[in-house]
């Protein structure tokens, strides 16, 4: 994959216009956050990128190839725990590795279980895990098929704030090591400031791009006490039209 390109333009559905003419280019290995108010249509956009929802106008293309359906080269991590509750942690993580030899499956699954720190829980079932552990299984399952792109739809939205912070820093480490392109949907300004190289600020429905804030100047791991970080965050608060005082 070289210089992955995406172009959205979405003239709208007949009934409700969810997205109106979104244009965006995302580069290979880039970490881009889509930030917008709840229900603005950013998840719909991500679902269209993943091929789960049809595109009603304009085009979404990856490497110049239009998206027509789901593809293991681009894996979606859902907000709800979409790992399978009837499978053990091991079987969940190995789920996408059907075509490979047993030895290969074993090696890959082992690698990603270690990567997300779930050693010792291979035989556990999702109901025995905390929310944060479940989502780590979801991320490991996605990474195991070695996708080019990760689509993440508020993956940490259902977790408590400490777990969230923890998983974000793990995600940054994984992203830097595994060199994935990540498109991350969130309505949390802090989350976007901590994660994205660029933050795409979306308007309320019908969603369009209000502005794109470039945060590539902020080095990882980001110091959330630094003046630059606070400045960047305040900029996003302002773009979102929210006060920084409570």
């Amino acid at each position: 994959m070289r210089g992955a390109q995406k172009t959205f333009s979405e003239p709208g559905k007949p009934a409700i216009e969810v997205l109106s003419g979104v244009d965006l280019d995302v580069a290979e290995h880039e970490f881009v956050c889509l930030l917008g108010p709840s229900g603005c249509g950013k998840s719909t956009l991500l679902n269209m990128c993943a091929g789960f929802e049809s595109i009603d106008g304009g085009t979404i293309a990856i490497d110049g190839e239009p998206v027509t359906g789901p593809d293991p080269r681009r894996v979606f991590v859902f907000q709800e725990y979409a790992i399978f509750p009837w499978m053990s942690v091991w079987d969940n993580i190995a789920f996408g590795l059907q075509g490979r030899s047993d030895a290969q499956r074993h090696e890959i699954a082992r690698h990603y279980i270690e990567l997300v720190g779930l050693e010792g829980f291979e035989r556990a079932y999702p109901r025995e895990l905390s929310g944060g552990m479940k989502q780590r299984v979801g991320v490991a399952r996605a990474l195991a098929v070695n996708p080019d792109i990760l689509y993440m739809d508020e993956p940490f939205g259902a977790l408590d704030s400490l777990t969230r912070l923890n998983l974000r820093s793990q995600l940054i480490q994984i992203w830097r090591r595994e060199k994935k392109t990540i498109l991350f949907v969130t309505h949390d300004i802090d989350e976007a400031t901590q994660l994205g190289q660029r933050v795409v600020v979306m308007s309320a429905r019908p969603a369009r791009i209000k502005t794109i804030v470039d945060l590539s100047g902020l080095a990882y791991p980001r110091d959330i006490d630094s003046a630059e970080y606070i400045q960047a965050r305040d900029r996003l608060f302002e773009e979102m039209g929210v006060s920084t005082r409570v």
Partner: protein
């Protein structure tokens, strides 16, 4: 007190109080011969009734209560298994393919509310022998709840599971085996439990009316031939106990790891 004891003590206390009450209400009339035939038996008389039913009579291989129970359980199991064999695949198809659902669901929903008892005359006219008659009746009374449960189970699979599977390139038979079937098992199992309960209720009615053996027939014979309420009550208690046993058998499956996730934790 251990929680194990706590679980047992309340129901045992309730049972003891009820049996005592039953004894007090029936004991007074026990020596009155004039109403002896129609009066309700005392608990002890029911115990003696059990003894009577559990005694092998000359010329018979097993005690009446045992052979009747075996006959009834066999019929329910045969009819229920046939209904599962046909009902589960049918329900899964209806749940997965909207077209199949549109085509078949009105028929299923039309047949489902018909009381299984209403099928008894048809069963009598269609089948000469006891076994096919009763198996047919259990089949028609259990297949519709099973089919409906299986169809609803597939329709209720959260979209994220299907999308996740599709994302990893899982489709066709593999999608069915790894995702659709396991995702719907807990709800199918609940449907099976309900259906088996219905089957057990229906077999007694069917045997009372249309069949010459089984627990239902045992009740009917006690009424017609001997007029002994103690035997009727003893048989009814047996029916209740076997019903609990059958339900417990299906519920054991709820504890399998691949199915357990579908049930909220029980206290």
């Amino acid at each position: 007190m251990s929680s194990r004891w706590k679980k047992v003590i309340a129901p045992v206390a309730v049972a003891a109080v009820l049996v005592a009450l039953w004894h007090l209400l029936t004991y007074g009339a026990a020596n009155e011969p004039a109403i002896a035939k129609t009066r309700f038996p005392t608990p002890w008389e029911v115990v003696l009734g059990f003894k009577h039913l559990l005694t092998t009579r000359p010329g018979e291989k097993a005690p009446q209560l045992v052979s009747s129970t075996v006959a009834s359980v066999f019929r329910v199991m045969a009819g229920f298994n046939l209904a599962m064999l046909l009902g589960i695949p049918l329900g899964l198809l209806m749940g997965w393919y909207a077209g199949t659902y549109r085509a078949l669901n009105p028929l299923v929903q039309l047949l489902r509310p018909i009381s299984p008892i209403a099928w008894i005359p048809i069963a009598i006219l269609m089948f000469k022998n006891d076994e096919p008659r009763s198996i047919f009746l259990i089949f028609v009374s259990t297949i519709f709840p099973i089919t409906t449960a299986a169809a609803a189970a597939v329709q209720n699979i959260p979209q994220v599971y299907i999308r996740s599977a599709a994302n990893f390139g899982c489709d066709g038979w593999s999608l069915f085996k790894k995702v659709v079937l396991p995702a719907s098992l807990p709800q199918i199992l609940t449907g099976l439990r309900l259906a088996l309960g219905v089957g057990w209720i229906v077999i007694v009615a069917a045997e009372m009316i249309a069949v010459r053996s089984g627990l239902g027939r045992l009740i009917q014979d006690a009424r017609d031939a001997t007029g002994r309420l103690d035997l009727i009550v003893a048989t009814m208690i047996t029916i209740g106990a076997i019903g609990i046993g059958l339900d417990a058998l299906v519920r054991r499956l709820e504890n399998v790891d691949q199915i357990k996730w579908g049930y909220a934790k029980r206290g």
